[in-house]
């Protein structure tokens, strides 16, 4: 059984980003970059399925310029067997990413495609679902537990009121939530070994797909700043302020 794991390079989760001076985009120059935390959880889950003997091969794929190979090597150090980079400088909407991944799946025929539930830069939460629609696969989004039994995926999902469990035939799309697992750290020997794992590079043209322009970002602005608050010295003062100044209780 084969698992395909799309991974994204994003600004590290702990970095507070700023909008650039001319309000056209978020300034990402010289910021620390990392593998998107949800993608890391997806890689970890794929590797655990391999360690459990359910899966024989884990393939990571990333779409972006050459620098995304850093995050792909990280994924390989965590246990992925090989990588595919689709080289492009364009910022693509999730639908375009899903179309590219569909053509990768056409050649890979993976049984499980494990996405992160969202990337922490775009916060879209779309690509996995769109890929599932384009490939007509069943989907289990926001997974907090994954079991492969009798050729089926049994997945517990985090939904608004609690948890929901679904079962679906393979091939299937699963998107990971935070609680699915705790990703491991890459060990130094594994980081060295990862450098020799196969990494194939292809272009969008190689895949023979045409992408549309769906939207234009007109501007990017910082969020409205909150007015500075005050420190109160006692519970009494807090209650007094909430009752008489803020009038919220």
């Amino acid at each position: 059984m084969k698992v395909l794991v799309p991974v994204k390079r994003v600004v590290d989760a702990n970095v507070k980003v700023r909008v650039n001076a001319d309000n056209t985009k978020v300034d990402t120059a010289n910021l620390k970059m990392a593998i998107n935390p949800f993608c890391e959880i997806a890689v970890e889950e794929a590797v655990r399925l391999k360690e459990a003997g359910v899966v024989s091969e884990v393939v990571v794929v990333s779409i972006g310029p050459k620098v995304v190979q850093e995050q792909m090597r990280t994924a390989m150090a965590l246990g992925a067997d090989r990588g595919i980079q689709v080289d492009t400088d364009k910022e693509l909407v999730p639908l375009s990413l899903a179309k590219i991944l569909k053509s990768i799946q056409a050649q890979e025929n993976a049984d499980i495609v494990l996405f992160g539930k969202q990337s922490i830069d775009g916060d879209n939460n779309q690509t996995g679902q769109m890929f599932a629609a384009l490939t007509d696969m069943p989907q289990a989004t926001f997974a907090s537990e994954v079991k492969i039994e009798d050729g089926k995926a049994v997945v517990t999902r985090e939904v608004d009121g609690g948890l929901q469990t679904l079962a679906m035939p393979l091939p299937a799309v699963i998107t990971t939530d935070l609680r699915l697992n705790e990703p491991r750290y890459a060990k130094l020997p594994d980081i060295m070994k990862a450098k020799r794992k196969p990494l194939e590079v292809m272009s969008i043209d190689d895949l023979g797909i045409e992408l549309k322009e769906h939207q234009t970002v007109l501007k990017v602005t910082p969020p409205a700043a909150r007015e500075a608050g005050i420190m109160v010295s006692s519970v009494d003062e807090l209650v007094e302020k909430l009752q008489n100044e803020a009038k919220v209780i």
């Binding site: 679904l166 234009t216 969020p223 519970v235």
Partner: protein, 308 residues
């Protein structure tokens, strides 16, 4: 042309999220129709027809849709999509599950978590955990979007829409196995006027009892930070943040929460924020309107008592 709103419901009742999404639809301007897909969902449809500004409620009631699976619900939406320019759903876990599938089947991009309607094709949405606001113009023939419900006021119940039943039935290969919902008599996080949230500083699940006492006194919902959920203090559907629930109550009281970027993303649009923390350097104090540097185990019982 008309706007379609996918209703948020649990078959038995319509969620307030639907009324807030209808408000976003009204901001776009046009005839608003609500689609209720489920099983034995007549009560939800009855509530939907009273929503102010809704002219038509379309009901698809069949056993195949009882769990509202993305795989088949998306096809129901697709079937009637040709009648609509805009297709909206609340950015709930159901909306986020279903709508991207609809968008992909229509070959259009989706705009997620819209917080402001600028015009019929231009919308504002937060990116990077709410640290930037992107104004996005769609060039697609149909605009498919999820709505961040905390950014819109629910419409009232003065409508009387016609109800139309459609008899779709589409089996999904996905099977519903089971569901485990968190029991709570408190208000729902998404619609509560007051929220009291606890973080790692609470120390244990048992200690959440003192937070609940305060919540009961205020008629508040109880939330949590990721740290409190990961430590097993409370279930994950109580998590407020970038990847949990996004809330904007009148009053948000953060107790023992440091205020990581990911948590702030879920609550910094609250009208009044109170932080109680013993670390004066905690980032939560930078967004708090009122900060109290204190041990929560002393301050919380005192606060609960003084509110009586």
């Amino acid at each position: 042309m008309a706007i379609l709103v996918l209703a948020e419901h649990d078959n038995a009742s319509l969620k307030l999220d639907t009324a807030k999404t209808v408000a976003a639809a009204q901001a776009i301007g046009g005839d608003v129709h609500v689609l209720v897909v489920g099983h034995e969902c007549g009560a939800a449809a009855d509530s939907a027809k009273t929503l102010t500004g809704v002219s038509k409620v379309i009901v698809v009631d069949s056993a195949e849709y009882s769990a509202q699976l993305a795989q088949n619900v998306s096809k129901v939406v697709l079937d009637i999509a040709s009648d609509y320019d805009h297709i909206l759903a609340p950015a709930s876990t159901t909306g986020k599950d279903v709508l991207p599938r609809v968008a992909a089947l229509l070959d259009v991009a989706q705009i997620s978590e819209v917080i402001e309607v600028v015009s019929a094709d231009t919308f504002v949405r937060p990116v990077y955990a709410g640290n930037a606001m992107a104004t996005v113009q769609s060039h697609d023939s149909k605009k498919v979007m999820t709505v961040r419900v905390s950014a819109f006021e629910a419409v009232g119940n003065e409508g009387s829409a016609e109800v139309v039943a459609l008899s779709n039935s589409e089996a999904a290969t996905t099977e519903f196995v089971s569901q485990e919902l968190t029991e709570s008599e408190r208000p729902e996080l998404g619609s509560a006027g007051v929220i009291v949230s606890g973080g790692r500083g609470m120390g244990s699940g048992e200690n959440f009892a003192i937070l609940e006492q305060l919540a009961d006194k205020l008629g508040a919902a109880v939330g949590a930070s990721r740290a409190a959920v990961d430590a097993g203090f409370v279930p994950n559907d109580m998590q407020v943040g970038q990847t949990g629930k996004i809330v904007a109550p009148d009053l948000y009281i953060a107790v023992g929460i440091s205020g990581a970027i990911q948590h702030l993303a879920g609550m910094k649009d609250s009208k009044v924020i109170v932080a109680i923390n013993k670390d004066p350097e905690a980032p939560i104090f930078q967004v708090a309107d009122y900060g109290l540097e204190a041990d929560l185990f002393k301050a919380l019982p005192e606060l609960t008592e003084k509110l009586s």
